[in-house]
């Protein structure tokens, strides 16, 4: 397999893997998230958050993947990028690492959202 072919195939495989990782995290957290909203949030708030949650878990994964650039000081042309297979593998690792990091940050964000929902999401629950 040539380096260029490896670049093309690995890029889209890692992109798909990032989406799958984001989707897996969403599926893992979806049921308790939805149950919690059912008991602690108003109808409208629940509807909004239920629609936002999948995007809020899957999009960060993709964003993490996209944040990694192949261009660098030493690799400033396409020919230099595809010359070194080890460099391409390293970039793939960075892409997965960035996707995982973004999903973790998104999870922390939704943790905070649930704290706010518990406190303010259903005014009647306070009584």
């Amino acid at each position: 397999m040539t380096n260029e072919r490896f670049l093309i195939e690995s890029y889209f495989v890692i992109a798909a893997l990032s989406l799958i990782l984001g989707w897996t995290a969403y599926v893992y957290l979806w049921r308790p998230f939805d149950d919690f909203l059912s008991s602690r949030a108003t109808k409208n708030l629940r509807a909004i958050l239920r629609r936002l949650f999948p995007f809020g878990m899957i999009l960060p994964a993709l964003l993490g993947f996209l944040s990694v650039s192949y261009w660098s000081c030493n690799q400033d042309t396409y020919e230099k990028i595809v010359r070194d297979r080890q460099y391409l593998i390293q970039k793939n690792q960075e892409q997965v690492s960035a996707a995982l990091f973004s999903i973790a940050m998104a999870t922390l964000f939704w943790d905070v959202v649930l704290i706010v929902v518990q406190k303010y999401g259903h005014p009647k629950a306070e009584k």
């Binding site: 893992y28 149950d35 390293q90 995982l100 999903i103 973790a104 939704w110 704290i115």
Partner: protein, 116 residues
Amino acid sequence: MQFVVFVALLVLALVVAIGLFYLLRSSLNGLLRHTVAEPSGITFYERSFLLVLVLLSFSAALGISFDLKPDAHFMEYVWKWAGGLASVLQSAGGVLLAYLVMITVLVAALKIKNDQ
């Protein structure tokens, strides 16, 4: 050899994440029962804690570049692995710090039942 070191690092990242989770799980569960009360909320926070631990540990392990030459010495592999281990432990520490802050906010915002 590089692949072996890479896999060993990933395994260690998983062990650190799961080990920390099981170490803190019962205490976290007790605190969540006290503050959140809602079973689904408790489940969500426990799962998110495990998820963040695992994701950041793997992220740290994958962020290490294995660019050693084929004729590298044994200790060079050990140093590379140790650098990866440091990164994993740093991430785990960051997660614990973030959860400490979040749990503090949770307790302050929701107020422990006994105080009411």
